[in-house]
Symmetry: D5
Subunit: 96 residues, 10 copies
């Protein structure tokens, strides 16, 4: 099942840069493992923002919840979730 | 260049259903031609809404504008545009 | 899979009352059939509003979308959807 | 009398994790005691959020107020309350 | 049980003034009967607006819902409801 | 002259509980003195919130301003003010 | 007593221009009579908008309400009211 | 040229009261000097708020900007600016 | 003096296309005359919207108001105005 | 390709003024280098705000993103981006 997730990252101004760099490295590894597993289908950067638009392909809302709460940057994020389904005009077999 | 476009369709309650059906047929053909040309990369339905989330791959903002204004349902739509770029964590070569 | 759906009904002031009564009767029958089938688990009235809060139990977002678009009052509704999952503190086996 | 309550939990970034874990344990016990007493009828997790949707069955607004202010996590919560009543289409005797 | 209700009245510009005057007369009678019955405790006009702030004293949310839906002007109203309870600093015995 | 005032109290999470308890005691005394003087006509708790809805009866906006700025909890409050006048449907002589 | 009032005028697109011109003439005469009586102290146009910012000096909220509801353009207006009082830094004796 | 400026002052809860008192004294002197110079035409307190509504009469937007940034309390303020012009119904020669 | 103006055009769905085409032709001529006179410095289309971002260089707010109210499409527009001044980092002599 | 960017700068109240002065000096140099390179076409100050309206001329969204994230003040900024294209009424060859 597909979900669109908008993630906005708000790093506190007084955060320790070294700690943040570590978390970002973990975040990248976490995201890429989920991409390779086919769970995190797409991720794009929003121009000018520390934010992304992502498409997840998971079993259900529970799996989405577990994946999002596992994000190393989760506690700094503002997240919006929208459940998606196949569009009748789509010609791609994988966009469902 | 990639853009995420959110389209919300608001058909007036007093519209002639036959006319609307014709416009929807044109909309579908228009969308599928652009998908086949590689301009309209993805289109998903938002669950419960007469709305979609789309990803466009166009030369620039001018081409996006021309494509959107050509939508047969354009005059009934509320549209939001966000410019996207490649996310540094992405593993897909085509999401740029 | 569970979804919370908020439905706000906006009947146009110039609608024909007899037509609206017919649609409301169909809406009630449609809702009760889905409740008996176990798809529409709960429906409550919001006090003072022509609105309801509902819990749906469906296969996935596609089934939710089909159920909602089939609502006889759909074209008069403003709808909000939230995907739910089991709360770790819940003691009810059926709230998942 | 039924109330829908939306609770969004915002733990400060600099909170002591051990203290928070203790409060969450108390919160779970508090919630489950109220569920067993029939006061807190339903609780669902909102996918992707540290938030829940709950249905309370209490004597009146005063009892709801006392129950909510007693939540161990109350000071971290943003809360919305809506009074509910039986929906005329409902087929469940207990959703009133 | 007490509820604060904010009512904003939006009469359509093309409404027949004679019909509206009739409805307003019915509204006044309806409101005064409920005030005399002790159900509608207070009603104040908001300065500069076709709006009021009201305090209702009803058995429960169901009675409030029935009272509000019975308002002759209901279909022109935008309504907000808040459940109230006794304030610990209040010195009036009747504000509960 | 009557004003409706909505007060939302936001105590900082790191406030000293003993200091806050003192301020709340002063707030209660301050409110009750004004109630006894007939300036603060009504105060109700909003269910589930650290907030109240109040009706003030003061000479003019200047007196309202002085009364509100004198609130011991004022610096923690978010305040909304609406000027009220007698509603033509009201049957109470004192709601003016 | 002073009030700041923001008035936004929304003339319906299908209004009869001759009728609107008549109402605007009445509005101007009504406004100027109140200005001469000292009730409507200031009126400024907001640049680029069919809107004004006004300062009224009236006995109380009831008089303000009566003045505003008497505006010939009232039914086309969106109105915001704020009660004002003397600013301690003001050097003008008349701005109270 | 006239501008309406809304200023909302947000003093941080942990500010040193003595420092704030000094800044407020400077603010008052700064405001009164500009009032005497005819640049700051009006200033009113918004009832119940630490906020004011002001009318400035300056050469142009640059002078307004310089005046506002010079406010001793500027860094604590949330500011809204609207350019004004003479209202065709105004009878005052100085409200332009 | 410079102003940024955002114009959003909302043509009613039932407008006569021939009439609208005429108004758009007038709008273009009106805009280009003002551009040639140096009053309307810049105009850009917002991608995907029937909207523009414009920079005006006028004597004062009164001239801006007259120019905007003269727009043939004015009655269909939602307009936002912001007064601009020279940015201290700007290297262009004409952006003041 | 053109983008309009609105930048609002929020310097924390407890920031070290000397550090902020250094960052502002870097910001100015960074901005002027990009202006000289033709990437940052226009920058205007919004009157009364620590904010600017800017027009960028970049290859694509990726270049815009890199330019914005490189701003020395970026971490203090709230940013809004809109993709622009040539307006059919524009008479300037460079506004594309």
């Amino acid at each position: 099942m597909l979900f669109k997730v908008d993630m906005q990252v708000n790093i506190p101004l007084d955060a320790d840069p070294a700690v943040i760099e570590d978390i970002k490295r973990e975040e990248k590894a976490y995201s890429q493992a989920l991409q390779q597993a086919g769970k995190w289908r797409h991720i794009w950067r929003v121009a000018g923002q520390y934010a992304n638009v992502s498409i997840f392909d998971v079993e259900n809302a529970q799996e989405l919840h577990d994946v999002l709460l596992g994000l190393p940057l989760y506690k700094f994020m503002e997240i919006k979730v929208e459940a998606l389904c196949r569009h009748p005009s789509s010609i791609r077999d994988d966009d469902r």
